[in-house]
Amino acid sequence: MEVTTQMFDRTTVVRVIGSVDGLTAETLTGALQSHVDEGRINLVCDLSGVDYTSSAGLRALLGTLKAARQQGGDFRLAAVQPGVHRILELSGFTSILKLYGDVDAAVASFAD
């Protein structure tokens, strides 16, 4: 799994490529948490390159959502692929996380 970051004026985009599983979720959690810790609380996670997540990945996403919202920000997902979307849906995550079709739409949503 690879994690890269792109900073915008009001938003930080974290792009993830690969599988989010019990081997990699901790790295993702650390990367996302470090942004929240440094005050970058308007976060977008670009999941266009993620084809797999287990519950370990869900824990990373939910932990980040809580941390960002508790500080007045938000954590939004972009370009969720069908397999991962199914896992999010079965877990009830689509009702608490905001999902966007692509990164541009997710970044633009923070301007609202």
Binding site: S54, S55, R59, P82, R86, I87, L90
Partner: protein
């Protein structure tokens, strides 16, 4: 379409990568569709995670085996260990509906297994073994 394989290793976290590669490879060799392969992989990861984290708590990790049988109409995966007895039917229900503030981190593993698989069977084997059998019917809708 038909493929059989088995792996056994100590139930340690540093073996999770080998176990995940095994199940990914087995699904590919059985020519499982993308959606079904993901369902099987997620379910097997959740079972392995459970055995590695809880199965041998407080003692030296014992064996964890995965037996994969792919046939034209179904995939059957049996996960065995010699850890503490645990019947997945007894797993506490997952919270999938409460507000984000109340939503607990975790507790979704068994929920996903039950939702993604067509059958989940548990049996105690011998004096000290557990076998959890997962069945995924091909072309079935979950």
């Amino acid at each position: 379409m038909t493929h059989e394989a088995r792996i056994t290793c100590p139930a340690r976290r540093d073996n999770l990568g080998s176990l995940l590669r095994f199940i990914t490879d087995a699904c590919a060799k059985a020519e499982l569709g993308e959606e079904d392969a993901m369902a099987v992989r997620v379910s097997v990861e959740e079972l392995c995670e459970n055995v590695i984290t809880h199965g041998y708590k407080g003692r030296e990790p014992g064996p964890l085996s995965i037996e994969f049988t792919g046939s034209p109409d179904r995939v059957v995966v049996a996960v065995e260990d010699r850890g503490v007895p645990f019947d997945p039917a007894q797993a506490p229900p997952a919270d999938t509906t409460s507000d984000w503030k109340e939503r607990p981190l975790g507790g979704l593993g068994w929920h996903l297994v039950h939702r993604l698989m067509d059958e989940v069977r548990y049996e105690r084997i011998g004096d000290d073994g557990n076998r959890t059998t997962l069945v995924k019917r091909r072309f079935a809708t979950t």
